[in-house]
């Protein structure tokens, strides 16, 4: 075995990684999007019931390593920054595996007065800069789900979703929430069958809105203006037509906290400064976060994420 001190990737991979990050910066800067660097060690953790932040212990420097730059970027937008992007590190406790590394590199950007469809088109342009031959397909989450699970994810009853999950070998989902049943079904039945290339899925279920706005789609179903991007069947990016309503934002925080308590997770204090920013006025905008390591994985056909970065979780 070669020494554990050594970097996990070779010079050509390092060069490609640098090329990807340089391309992102040039692409966005040339379109008038300003690079910003926000704290990686923030005062608050996200309330998201499925994202665990890493707390820093020392009382004199206590805080949380940020799971994304989202809240700071929204405070910048509310401060009048205009279009901005951040290319930096994000941290999520406990996430290690072939497609996860606790510390990872995230490209996140916001476009003022854009909607999610304009932002999806820009993301496709960016990926095409790096992979000119990539194909791209855009369809609604509902279409993709119904095609492979034969259930309408927006109108199906919770019982129907639970039974479908159990039938797929996820017996433990017999009493799970709507969002968790949809996730397990999506992962088992839809994700592996998505076409290769870029796939944009929009109009996510209302119960998985994250921090996006809700609306009624053409079929009269309540859906969220959230989208996900897949590249060769791998989840690559998540975006929103952003929620700007402070009252609704507070309600979602409360729902998150209730969900955290229900699943025995430590409660998390709400980020009052984000709420104040929304009260002061977050401009209408769309935002997206893209996993840079995963993009490199797919562009170089590297089977596991740990071989896209010089010092992965095991090699630290």
């Amino acid at each position: 075995m070669e020494g554990e001190w050594r970097a996990a990737i070779d010079r050509p991979t390092l060069e490609y990684r640098a090329h990807v990050m340089q391309t992102m910066r040039t692409f966005l800067s040339s379109r008038g999007v300003l690079e910003v660097d926000v704290p990686a060690l923030g005062r608050h953790a996200v309330t998201d019931p499925h994202i665990d932040s890493i707390a820093t212990g020392d009382f004199s420097s206590e805080g949380f390593l940020q799971s994304s730059p989202e809240f700071y970027m929204k405070r910048l937008l509310a401060s009048g920054s205009g279009d901005i992007f951040s290319l930096g590190k994000a941290f999520r406790a406990g996430e290690t595996g072939p497609r996860h590394n606790v510390e990872f590199t995230l490209l996140e950007w916001y476009r003022v007065d854009w909607d999610e469809h304009q932002l999806m088109a820009e993301l496709a342009d960016l990926v095409t800069h790096l992979w000119p031959e990539v194909g791209s397909l855009t369809l609604s989450y509902g279409e993709a789900f119904e095609q492979h699970v034969q259930i309408n994810p927006h109108t199906a009853s919770l019982t129907q979703l639970r039974l479908a999950a159990v039938a797929q070998g996820a017996e433990r989902w017999h009493d799970e929430s709507r969002a968790n049943c949809l996730d397990v079904l999506f992962n088992l039945c839809v994700e592996p069958l998505l076409p290769r290339g870029l796939v944009f899925l929009y109009d996510y279920p209302a119960c998985q809105a994250g921090l996006s706005q809700l609306y009624q789609n053409r079929e009269g179903q309540q859906v969220s203006r959230r989208f996900e991007v897949y590249l060769n069947n791998l989840e690559l990016a998540n975006g929103y037509f952003e929620l700007t309503d402070a009252i609704e934002q507070r309600r979602r925080f409360d729902d998150d906290l209730a969900a955290r308590i229900a699943s025995d997770k430590p409660p998390v204090a709400q980020d009052e400064r984000l709420l104040q920013a929304l009260e002061a006025g977050l401009p209408s905008c769309a935002g997206v976060a893209l996993g840079v390591d995963r993009l490199i994985m797919q562009l170089l056909e590297i089977p596991t994420i740990d071989l896209t970065m010089p010092f992965n979780w095991a090699r630290r």
Partner: protein, 189 residues
């Protein structure tokens, strides 16, 4: 017994699932960006050999199965049971037809096999990958025919029936791969 949590699931780990001893073949960590983490696990039921694909919630745990692979010498078969001995302790174990299964056709007295013990009793028997067995019965050999690649059935001393090349004769000893039942060549002494 100890419990293993999903983040400890590794290939080869023996666990109890639905009251049956299983071996974990694969464990894949899945975590949608905004969703709950879970584990997609492939397990082999050690009694039936059947492979199951199950999805567990992250942090769920399974009880460890008291399953141990032990090298043992095959002694004899009394018609009902197959007897094996641990070479160090001389302790004998009797395995029934269910445990021995397909392995019975490759068992030659004195050969060392892997006996999988579950709660101290034989659960399954894995013969050596290669065994040398005598041909009891086959059609007369076609001398010199080593080129046509034809085969014929042969009954071996353990009762197994395999395909052998046409030139082989009765009473010759052949080497067989027990995992595929394929003829590998004449046994080399």
């Amino acid at each position: 017994m100890a419990n293993y949590s999903t983040n400890e699931f590794r290939s080869g780990l023996k666990v109890m699932f639905e009251k049956e001893p299983c071996s974990i073949l694969e464990n894949e960590f899945v975590k949608p960006g905004k969703g709950q983490a879970f584990s997609r696990v492939k397990l082999r039921n050690l009694k039936t050999g059947r492979v199951l694909e199950k999805t567990f919630k992250s942090g769920e745990s399974l009880e460890a199965a008291d399953v141990m692979d032990t090298d043992m010498q095959y002694l004899y078969n009394d018609g009902d049971f197959w007897y094996f001995m641990e070479p160090q302790t001389f302790e004998q174990h009797q395995a029934d037809e269910k445990a021995v299964g397909e392995a019975s056709q490759w068992l030659r007295e004195q050969d060392v096999c892997v006996v999988t013990l579950y709660n101290g009793a034989p659960l399954s028997v894995t013969p050596p990958n290669h065994v040398d067995l005598e041909i009891l019965e086959t059609d007369p050999g076609l001398r010199g025919d080593t080129a046509t690649g034809g085969t014929k059935p042969a009954i071996l001393s353990t009762g197994a029936v395999i395909k052998v090349p046409l030139f082989l004769e009765q009473n010759e000893v052949v080497r067989v791969d027990t995992r595929t039942g394929e003829y590998l060549g004449r046994a080399k002494d």
